[in-house]
């Protein structure tokens, strides 16, 4: 089965052509240079209305890169939520129109649930491993920090999530407090490699309560207080130590909760996805944990950790197979129950 995936829940418009739920024939994101050039070539602003300009070129590029036409498509999967309502509606309206015009089955997908499905994606000719069910997924990005348990491809429950800031947001805002520029997460990752991670004892919120929820707002406040109490701008050496110590606190929380979730559910495989899964220290700590505990660890390629439509098509494939079809009355779900 060949599925066309469409994603427009927040910043980027994305489309992907996916074969049999796993093989990525194409995956196009509007922030890619080749797409920019087609609709103005400016850095994309966060704007629902920009999705309107991007969606046709993005879908055309996805089809042509895959060497397919609309006649080859067997079904359509589109992000239904959660996200910014104006942005979601553009992908949804386009998907519904296409479904009606071509008589194709349509399914609506949860964006956060889809992030976990990035672990099943493989390039053509590549034989990537995939997690076995049941598994635990930790989705950590700018918008979300959520632990999910998957019983099978389409049955999940939420085990825990952030109560305030997301992990990606903590990286971004702390980088701003330290004057590190954009993208902040990458800057902290780089500086932290030469810093002392034990230099400053930042808090590990909700660490003792056995809770699977996260909290990163207090960590941001601790950094704010530390910076405000300095008599001048931090030295390069101090920036390295602050970055390393802060990063360790975030990674500690993420890895600890993931392990608790695995123990609590008895799952043997862990998927880590979302933009934060590109952080080198996080990846190293996850690998150590997986080895010590004898667990399977699946971290998608960085291009499938950030927002993309291949993951939407992958989850959509399973929903289509199970007959979970949406009608033309499908509406956007800006907030999704349980998240």
């Amino acid at each position: 089965m060949i599925v066309l995936g469409i994603e427009s829940s927040c910043d980027d418009t994305a489309a992907s052509v996916l074969e049999d739920g796993r093989v990525v024939l194409s995956s196009i994101v509007s922030s890619q240079e080749s797409i920019h050039a087609k609709y103005g070539g400016v850095v994309p602003e966060l704007a629902s209305r920009r999705h309107i300009e991007a969606i046709v070129p993005v879908i055309e590029e996805a089809l042509s890169n895959a060497g397919k036409t609309l006649d080859d498509i067997d079904g359509i999967a589109v992000t239904q939520g959660p996200g910014l309502v104006g942005s979601l509606l553009i992908g949804l309206s386009f998907a519904k129109s296409l479904s009606l015009a071509k008589g194709l089955p349509l399914t609506g997908v949860n964006h956060i649930e889809a992030h976990a499905h990035a672990a099943f994606l493989a390039e053509k000719g590549e034989r990537g491993g995939a997690p076995g069910f049941p598994f635990v997924a930790l989705i950590a990005s700018g918008g979300h920090t959520t632990l999910l348990h998957f019983e099978d491809a389409t049955a999940y429950r939420v085990l825990g999530q952030t109560l305030d800031d997301s992990a990606g947001e903590a990286f971004d805002k702390v980088a701003k407090l330290l004057g590190l520029g954009y993208p902040g997460g990458a800057a902290i990752d780089r500086l932290a490699r030469e810093g002392d991670k034990g230099a400053i004892d930042f808090p590990r919120p909700l660490a003792s309560k056995g809770s699977l929820d996260f909290s990163f707002s207090g960590l941001k406040t601790s950094m704010l207080t530390y910076v405000k109490n300095l008599s001048g701008p931090p030295s390069e050496a101090l920036l390295r130590d602050l970055s390393a110590s802060f990063q360790e606190a975030v990674v500690d929380s993420l890895v600890t909760k993931a392990l608790w979730a695995l123990r609590a559910t008895g799952a043997k495989d862990l998927v880590a996805a979302g933009g934060v899964a590109s952080n080198s220290r996080f990846r190293a700590r996850l690998s150590e944990m997986a080895e010590e505990e004898g667990l399977g660890l699946y971290i998608p390629h960085p291009r499938y950790c950030t927002d993309n439509a291949a993951m939407v098509a992958s989850l959509g494939f399973h929903q289509l197979e199970k007959g979970r079809l949406a009608g033309l009355d499908m509406n956007a779900k800006p907030t999704w129950e349980g998240f």
Binding site: C10, E45, L46, G83, G86, D164, D165, E169, S217, K220
Partner: protein, 153 residues
């Protein structure tokens, strides 16, 4: 006419209670502009507003998701965050103005990014870092019908 009252809070919980107090004054169509630096307590204040209105769900920072909607209370609350929005034009292009002055109340973090909000919102709340735990919070309520309202929360 405009009335201003300054508060000093000494914990995130206290900031939250101040937001809860403000929620009692909210009516449909109101917009509350939150301004001030990172870590000032804006999300805690908005959390208090959502609780005060009677919404049961969690309140997370919308810095990356841009808009969270809390329903099930006395009024729907549209919790926006312009942290990643670079100016007035982008605010309008993102379609966020559609959630203001509607059937619910709107609370907008980093409202200074879209200067029209400071003019249009009936209530403005500014946050300032004082010490590790203390924040100075200034509440301004515009008098819109010749009636003075003391912003005591």
């Amino acid at each position: 006419m405009e009335e201003t009252v300054k508060y000093l809070t000494s914990s995130p919980e206290e900031t939250e209670r101040l937001g809860e107090g403000l929620s009692e004054k909210l009516r449909a169509g109101d917009c509350v502009a939150l301004t001030g630096e990172l870590g000032g307590g804006k999300t805690s204040f908005a959390r208090g507003m959502a609780r005060g209105l009677g919404s049961k769900g969690g309140v997370k920072s919308p810095s990356f998701t841009i808009l969270n909607i809390y329903e099930g209370g006395r009024l729907p609350l549209y919790h926006m965050d312009l942290y990643r929005i670079m100016g007035q034009e982008e605010f309008l292009f993102a379609g966020l103005d559609e959630f203001i002055h509607g059937n619910g109340a709107a609370v907008i973090e980093w409202a200074e990014r879209a200067p029209s909000l400071l003019r249009d919102c009936r209530i403005t709340v500014s946050f300032r870092y004082v010490s590790d735990t203390e924040r100075e919070i200034e509440v301004r309520i515009k008098d819109d019908a010749g009636k003075h309202e003391k912003p005591v929360l």
